[in-house]
């Protein structure tokens, strides 16, 4: 009591209660956040443990053999690589140009708002619907048939909204003062974009594009009807092993391969299924790490 009298800053009961409440809220939010790490770690540990017997260099470099009960995953791996590559070649320029238009040129009118709404909604379309859209639009209507190109187009449509959105965000992060300074010197909007805005946002744009690699590599539904095939004869060595599929060929892909060997095929060793999944997850982590590295580099360089 005397102590409290001596201390003019002693906490009142109300303040003590508020402090207790704060402690409780902090601990519970902290606990829940930490819990988030558990699934990620569990999945990775479980996958590595289960796939350990199969994981080897040969598992990656050899084609599936003996009705997929031996060999490796080279054919679907290289198929996924080309799927991602072709879809990005299609989606990145379109998405970046659209993002530049929407952020730098478009006036705020009903048409712009409608386009933005369309982009947001496109991002929310389930991937199986993208797959059916690709089947109708590219395979049948445009007559591409089921092939790498049709599947890449479908995946490109799916990844477009995120590329557009991340491009817009990267451009918007360039301070307006730079643009105004350029315009005041008599630069056209395009000169401003080319000399000031793009050089200062290119890392952010690339980060957005790279993140889409992971998504394009992982999706099964969009390629299910548009070009993926169960098994394809791929050369074991030489040029044909590196470029086994043309744009008009059907192809194998990791995600579809995993689906097939897990549900449709008999006698595939369990470690092969987990091995395929582990390689996919490994790819995603690797690609995301590159993109995180980009982001760190970008932040370290930014001085405004």
């Amino acid at each position: 009591m005397s102590n409290e009298l001596n201390n003019p800053f002693a906490a009142t009961d109300q303040e003590r209660q508020a402090r207790e409440k704060e402690k409780f809220i902090k601990l519970s939010t902290q606990l829940i956040t930490w819990l988030l790490v558990i699934p990620v770690v569990a999945i990775i540990v479980f996958l590595v443990y289960k796939s350990w017997p199969a994981l080897s260099v040969e598992f990656i470099t050899e084609n599936p053999k003996v009705r997929m009960t031996a060999g490796g995953i080279w054919a679907p791996l290289i198929g996924t690589f080309f799927l991602v590559l072709v879809s990005l070649i299609i989606a990145a320029p379109i998405g970046i140009l659209a993002g530049v238009y929407l952020n730098e040129f478009a006036r705020d009118n009903w048409l712009t708002r409608f386009i933005n709404l369309a982009v947001v909604n496109l991002a929310g379309v389930p991937s199986i619907v993208h797959g059916l859209f690709g089947l109708g639009a590219f395979v049948y209507f445009l007559g591409m048939d089921r092939c790498l190109l049709a599947a890449s187009c479908t995946v490109a449509v799916m990844t477009l909204p995120v590329i557009i959105t991340s491009t817009k965000e990267a451009l918007a992060s360039v301070p307006m003062a730079f643009r105004v300074a350029c315009w005041n010197m008599g630069a056209t909007k395009w000169q401003t974009i080319r000399t000031i805005v793009l050089p200062n946002s290119i890392s952010g744009i690339l980060t957005g594009v790279i993140l889409q690699v992971a998504r394009a590599a992982g999706e099964t539904a969009p390629i299910l009807f548009t070009g993926a095939m169960i098994s394809s004869r791929v050369a074991d060595s030489g040029w044909d092993a590196w470029v086994p599929y043309g744009l008009e060929d059907r192809f194998m892909a990791l995600s579809y391969h995993l689906y097939i060997i897990s549900t449709q095929w008999q006698n595939v060793p369990e470690s092969f299924k987990f091995g395929t999944a582990a390689v996919m997850i490994g790819l995603v982590i690797a690609v995301n790490s590159i993109s995180i590295g980009f982001r760190i580099y970008l932040r370290s360089r930014k001085k405004w």
């Binding site: 105004v180 300074a181 005041n184 010197m185 008599g186 000399t195 001085k303």
Partner: protein, 305 residues
Amino acid sequence: MSTDSKNMNTTTENGLPTILPDLSAHQTEGDVDRLRLIENGQVIPAVIHEDINDEDIILEINKLNLWYGNAQALYDITFEVPRGKVTSLIGPSGCGKSTMLRCVNRINDLIDSVRIEGDMIIDGDSIFAPGVDVIELRKRMGMVFQKPNPFPMSIYENVVYPLRIDGVRDRAELDEVCERSLRGAALWDEVKDRLRESGLSLSGGQQQRLCIARAIASDPEMLLLDEPCSALDPVATAKIEELIQNLSGDYSILIVTHNMQQASRLSDYTAFMYLGNLIEFGPTYKIFSKPETKETEDYVTGRFG
């Protein structure tokens, strides 16, 4: 006590009731409150000192009205900016000084809702005429803002940027312009050994002088300065002020400032604005020592604003 003003009989032209028989006679009447009339939406003819008639004019502002959407921001602004001198725009916040400045290089065009009536004539050419290319117009003006905004590139590239967008590639020409502009902006001695370093590595005052160097690189006719010192410390401010005085003569300078000491130190002419109206325009020493309107006197002596 010269109370003559060439704008004195424009009241009826403005379509206003002629309840203001002779505003400049406030010293005798004493209780015509222009500020309250302006607040009530009246357009008050400005008091223009005759001294401007003896000057060589670079920019004529003629009955300029400006609206942001439905809100009018400038009312019938009419005055002339002398060539090779420093003209400052003063007035309380929101009086339209910066808006006025941004009309000169038509940077307001970038705001969709802006509508402008009236005209500005630079060297005999209308700024708002249909055939005017804003890109060409802006190349004849150099503008410097409140906050220094050098580009995130080297000091050298910052200065020669206006030439770069014109497609100049000749190294010797670029080098020459870079040195001349940096010398002009009194920055050369401080940065000549580190032209390759980022413009953002400079101090605030140096960055602002870099921006001035960039603004004069394309050899403009006018320099528009929008509170160029308000983000700087007193030492950097003194350097910029000295620079502005050195630049006058070669350039016609229009400067917006909140700092009345700065306006009185720097400028040859001063325009006092209030709520989008020009109240008084004349030689700086007259505006600050013997203004013709009571409102200007109240403002420059710190009694309001």
